[in-house]
Symmetry: C3
Subunit: 449 residues, 3 copies
C-alpha cells in the first residue's frame, strides 16, 4: 500500500458506490412511470422499466461502451492501456480531425484495468437512465417486441454515439481546442448526454407512435388521463432524487476531489427550487398545488443542474432550479397543446426541455472556478455572466447537435421499425390494456381463494 | 496527495454518503405517514412530505444554517475560516457567557471550504427529519398554506436554535465546561436535537389544531382510525432503518474514526429489541401482534439509540431498545387516552417520548470509553451506572430545556398562525378529504379509459 | 494517521456501507413476497419480513456469530485478538482434524476490535437474507408463533453451522488443504452459504407444512394463485438487485482490493442475462413475457453469480446468468409438478436451485486469476474449463453437504415443532386470511370516515 494506490482505492470506491446509487434510480423511474399511467397497463410499464435495464446492459456491454469510449484519449486519466482503447472513427472538418465514435473495447475485450472496469459500470448505469426515459413517453401503447428492439438501439447505438461526442473525446468536446469555443461542449454529469438524449428520443417516439386513444378530442383539445397511483410516482421521485446524489457528485469519478461537496449541495438546492417553483406555478394556475407537477418540478431542477452542478455557485443553483420548475410546467402545456404530442409522464419536458436548459445554464452561470484543462483547454470554465461568450456558444451548438442528431436518428429508427413490424399495439389491445394483451398477468389480481 | 488530504477525502466521502442515506429517509417518512392515514388524504400527506424537503432546504440554506452553526467554535474541527463563522448572539448567565444562536454563514456566504459545504448538506438532511415529523401528527386536517409557512418556521428558526444550543456551541453544550455538568448535554446523533424537537413540535401542533373529526367519542373515548396501507408503512420503516445507518454512524463526520463500527452495531441492536418488545407488548395486550406498532417499536429503538449509540456497549443498546419498544406502546396509549391528543402516526410517542429517553439513557449507560474532550471537557463521557451523576443531570436539563423551549415556541407559533389565517381546513373539506379539497388530484384514480 | 490505518479506514467504510446495502435487501424481500401473495395475508407476510430481521439479530448476536466465527483462524485477517476468538469444536476424519463450529465470541463478549465489530454487522445482514427466504415459501399458512421460534433456529443454529464450514474455517473450507480438493469449497459471497441454505430450508419447511388450500386439484394438478401486487414484487426485485452490489463487491471485506470492480460488473451482467433468459423462456412457453418470472430470472442470475463473481470473466458471467434464468423457470415447474411442493414466491427455485448452480458454476468457470492462498491453499482458484477438476469436486461436495445437512436438520426441526405446537394455522384461519386471524389489522382498510 502506498499513497497513490490508496487514493485510487478511494476513487474506485466512490465511483462504484455512486454508480450503485445511479443504478437504483431505475426503480425510481419505474415507480414514476407506473404511478402516472393506468392500472390496466401497470405490469407492462413496470416490466419495460425492468427489462430495459437488462437489455441495455447487453447492448452497452457488447457494442455501446466501445463506440462511446473506445476512441483516443477518453480514458487516459483512468490509466488504461493506450494500445487497447485508442481506435477511433474520425472525420475531417475545416481541416481538423474530429472523432465520431470509438472502435475498441467491445465486450470489454482486452481491458484488464480494474479502474476501467469500474468506469464501465458507472457509464452503463448512466446509459440506462437515457434508455428508460422513452418508456414513459411511449407507455400504454407500445408493442412489447418493438420495445425490446428499441432497447438494443438506444443502448448500443444512439446513446453511445452522442455520448462519444461529449464524453468520449468526440467532436463536440473538441470545439474548444480546435475552434476556440470555450472548453467545447461541457456537460458535467449529463443534462444533454443522458437526459436530453432520452427526452428527444422520447419526443421522436411519441411523434411516430401517436397519441393514446382518447387523449385528444376531435377538435384537438387534450384530455387529462390521470395516473393510477400518485403516491407511487412521488416515491419514485424520492428515489430518483436520492440516486441523483450518485449521478452528479459521482461524475467527478474521484472521491479525492473535494468539489464533490458543492456538487452535492447544488444538486440539493436546484431540486428544492424546482419543486417549489412548480408548486407555486400550479397553485397560481389551478388554484391548488398539483402533486404530479411538483414531482416533475423537482426532477426538472435535478435534470437542469446536472450539467452545471460542478461549475456554479449555490445561488446560481437556486436560480437554475426555479427556472427549471417553471419551464417544465410550460413545456408540458406546450407539448400537449401546441405540439399535440401525448407524453403520459412528461418525459419530453422533464428530460428534453430541461436537459437543454441544463447545458445552456452552464454557459450562462459557470463562474470560472473549476474545470482547468478540461477537454484540453487551459483555464477555467466560464459562462456568459462571467465574461466568456464563446462557452455559451459551445453549449448552444451542443444542444442543437443533440436535438438534430437524436431526433433525426430516432425518428428514422421508429419510422422504419413501424413500417417493418409496427410499433403500436392494436386499438383493441390498447383498450383492453396491455397487461391482458401482452403480459401473462395483470398487476393487481384481486381474486381471493 | 498526502496522508492528511487522503484522510480528509475519506471523511468527506463518508459524510456525503451517509448524508445521502439520511436524505433517503424522507421517502421512509412519507411512506409511514401515508400508509398510516386514509386514502382520501394520501396525496396531501405525500405532498407534505415532499414539499417539506424543498421548503426546508430553502429555510435552512437562507437562515437556519447560520443560526445553528454560525457561532464561535462550532466548526473549528472542519477547518473553516474562523473569520467567517464566528459571530454569535450570547447572553450572560451566572457570570458566564452562553451562546444562543449564530449570526454568520447565511446562504453559505463567505464559505469556501468544501468540508463545511459538505457539512452543510449533512446538517440539512438532519433538519429535514425534524421538519417532517409534525406532518404525521397534523395530517388529515392541516391547511396547505399553513403547512407551507410552518415549513419555513421549523427549518429556519425552531430547529436551528435548539440545534445551536447542543451542536453549535450554545449554552447546553457549555453546561459541562462552565458548571461541571459532565460534558454538557451530549446527544451524539440527535435523539433530542432532531427527534425530540420534532416530536414536541408535533405535540404542540396537535394540541392547537385539535383532533380529527370522529377521533374521539363524545365521552372522550378515542376511536381507532386505521391507515389505508400498512405494508406501505412497513416499507417506510425499512427505509428509515436503512437510512439510520447514515444518521448514526455518519455523525462521527469521519470515516477514519473506527468507532463507526460499534455505532452501527448498536443502532442495529436497538432497532431489533425495540421491534421485538413492541411485538411482545401488543401480543400480550391484544392477543396478537400489531404490525403498525411493531414498526413504531423499531423506530422507537432507533430514535432512542441515536443519542447514546457511540457511548454505550452492545448490551446496553439491547436494553435501551427494549425500553423504547415498551415506551412507545405506553406513550401512544397515554397521548390518546390521557392527553386526548390525536396523532395519526404516533409521531409524538416515537420521536418525542423516545427522543427524551434517548438522551436520558446516555446519562445512564455511557460507559466511559469515548468522547474525550467533547464540548471542551477532558475525560470520557460517563453515565450514572459508571459513576458520573453530573452527566445524568446535564441530560435531564437538556431534555427539560428542549421540552420547554420547543413546546413553548411551537405552541405560540401555531396559535398565532391559527388566529391570523387558520391552520385547519373546514369540516366539509376534512370530511371530503384533503386531496379533493386542497390538491388537484386524488391519489388513486380508478377510471379506466 | 498513517498509511496502514488509512487503508483500514477505507476497508471499514467499504464493509459498513456495503453491509448497509445488504440490510436494505430486507425491504426487497418483503416487497417480493408480499407482492406475490394474496391481499388477505399481506400484513402477515410483511410483518414476517420485518420481524425476521429483529429476531435474527437477536439470535445471531447471542449465539450464531460465535458458532460461525468463534473458531480458529476465521478472523485472523481482521486483526482480532487470537486469544478471544479461537475456541472450536472439531472432529477427526481420516486422521485430520476438522472444525464443526466455533465456541467463542457469543454476544460479542471479549471483542474490542472495531474491525471485528464491523465484520459482525456485515455477517449479520447476510444471515438475515437466509433467514427471510423461507418466509416466502411458507407464506399464507404459517402460524405466527411457529415462525418466531423458527427465526431463532435459523439465525442462531442452522445458518451459522453451515456458515462455519465454509467461511469460519470449518471442514468444507479445509477440503483443499487436507485432501487436495482445490481450495476446498469456495463460495465468494454466499451462493451456498446464504442462498442455498435458505432455499433448502424453505424446501424442508414447505414439505412439512404442506400446500395451501386450493393449490393442488384432487388429481394433483397445480393451480396458479396469483399474487396481489406484481409491481410491488418488481420494485422489490430492483431493491434486491441494488443491495446485491453490497452483497457481492462488499464480500472482499476490503475497499482497497481493486477486484471489487469486476465483481460488481459480473453481478450486473448475470442479473441482466438471467432476466433476459427468463423473458425469452416464458415468451416462448406462454406466448408472452411473464413479469413475475422475469423478476425471478433476474434474482436467479444474481444468486448464481454470488459464488463465482470474483473468479470468472465477464463472458462467463453472462453464461452463468443465462443458465440461471432458464434454470429458475424449469425449477419452478419441477417443484410444482414433480415435487408437488407449494412455494408461493419461488424461493426454492430462485435460492436453492440457483444457489447450487452458483457454486458449481464456480467449479466450471473459475479462470485462475484470483484467490491465491485462499483457505490455506497456494495458487489461484481454477475451474474445470481451466484445468482443475479437483476444485469442481470440492464444489460438488459442498453442495451435497449443504443439501443433506440443511434439509435434514430443517426437516427434523419443522417436524418436531409441528408435533409439539403445530406450525400451520387452522383451515378456517387460512381461508379467512392470516391478517384477520393472526394480526390486529388488515393490510388495506378501506373505510373512510
Amino acid at each position: 500500500m502506498d499513497i497513490t494506490s490508496l487514493g485510487n482505492s478511494i476513487n474506485l470506491v466512490w465511483m462504484l458506490i455512486t454508480g450503485f446509487l445511479v443504478m437504483f434510480m431505475q426503480a425510481g423511474f419505474a415507480l414514476v412511470e407506473v404511478g402516472m399511467t393506468r392500472i390496466k397497463n401497470a405490469n407492462h410499464t413496470m416490466l419495460m422499466n425492468m427489462m430495459i435495464y437488462a437489455i441495455g446492459i447487453l447492448g452497452f456491454f457488447l457494442l455501446g461502451f466501445g463506440l462511446m469510449f473506445g476512441g483516443v484519449g477518453a480514458l487516459s486519466t483512468l490509466g488504461v492501456d493506450g494500445a487497447v482503447l485508442s481506435r477511433e472513427f474520425t472525420i475531417t472538418l475545416f481541416g481538423k480531425s474530429f472523432g465520431l465514435f470509438g472502435l475498441s473495447g467491445f465486450a470489454l475485450s482486452g481491458i484488464t484495468s480494474m479502474g476501467v472496469i469500474g468506469f464501465f459500470l458507472f457509464q452503463l448505469v448512466f446509459m440506462d437512465t437515457t434508455a428508460t426515459i422513452p418508456t414513459g413517453a411511449l407507455a400504454e401503447r407500445w408493442k412489447w417486441k418493438a420495445f425490446v428492439i428499441y432497447g438494443f438501439f438506444v443502448s448500443a447505438i444512439l446513446y453511445p454515439i452522442y455520448g462519444n461526442w461529449v464524453w468520449g473525446g468526440g467532436w463536440l468536446s473538441q470545439l474548444g481546442a480546435s475552434f476556440g469555443f470555450g472548453h467545447g461542449l461541457v456537460d458535467f454529469a449529463g443534462s444533454s448526454v443522458v437526459h436530453m438524449v432520452g427526452g428527444v428520443c422520447a419526443m421522436a417516439g411519441a411523434a411516430v407512435i401517436g397519441a393514446r386513444i382518447g387523449k385528444f378530442k376531435k377538435d384537438g383539445t387534450p384530455v387529462a388521463i390521470p395516473g393510477h397511483n400518485i403516491p407511487m410516482a412521488i416515491l419514485g421521485t424520492f428515489i430518483l432524487a436520492f440516486g441523483w446524489f450518485g449521478f452528479n457528485p459521482g461524475s467527478t469519478l474521484s472521491g479525492t476531489d473535494p468539489r464533490i461537496a458543492i456538487i452535492a449541495v447544488n444538486t440539493l438546492l436546484a431540486s428544492a427550487t424546482g419543486a417549489f417553483a412548480a408548486m407555486l406555478y400550479t397553485w397560481w394556475q389551478q388554484g391548488r398545488p398539483d402533486p404530479g407537477m411538483c414531482a416533475n418540478g423537482m426532477l426538472a431542477g435535478l435534470v437542469a443542474i446536472t450539467a452545471p452542478c460542478a461549475f456554479v455557485t449555490p445561488l446560481a443553483a437556486l436560480v437554475i432550479g426555479v427556472i427549471a420548475g417553471f419551464l417544465v410546467c410550460v413545456s408540458v402545456w406546450f407539448v400537449e397543446w401546441v405540439l399535440k404530442l401525448d407524453d403520459p409522464v412528461g418525459a419530453i419536458s422533464v428530460h428534453g426541455a430541461n436537459g437543454l436548459w441544463g447545458i445552456i445554464s452552464l454557459g450562462i452561470f459557470a463562474d470560472g472556478t473549476y474545470g482547468d484543462g478540461l477537454n484540453g483547454v487551459k483555464g477555467m470554465v466560464t459562462g456568459l455572466l462571467y465574461g466568456d461568450v464563446s462557452q455559451f456558444f459551445a453549449q448552444l451548438i451542443g444542444g442543437l447537435a443533440c436535438f438534430l442528431f437524436v431526433f433525426g436518428l430516432s425518428f428514422i429508427f421508429f419510422k422504419v421499425q413501424d413500417m417493418i413490424m409496427g410499433i403500436r399495439v392494436s386499438p383493441e389491445d390498447e383498450v383492453l390494456g396491455l397487461d391482458r394483451a401482452e403480459m401473462t398477468s395483470i398487476a393487481y389480481p384481486r381474486d381471493i381463494m
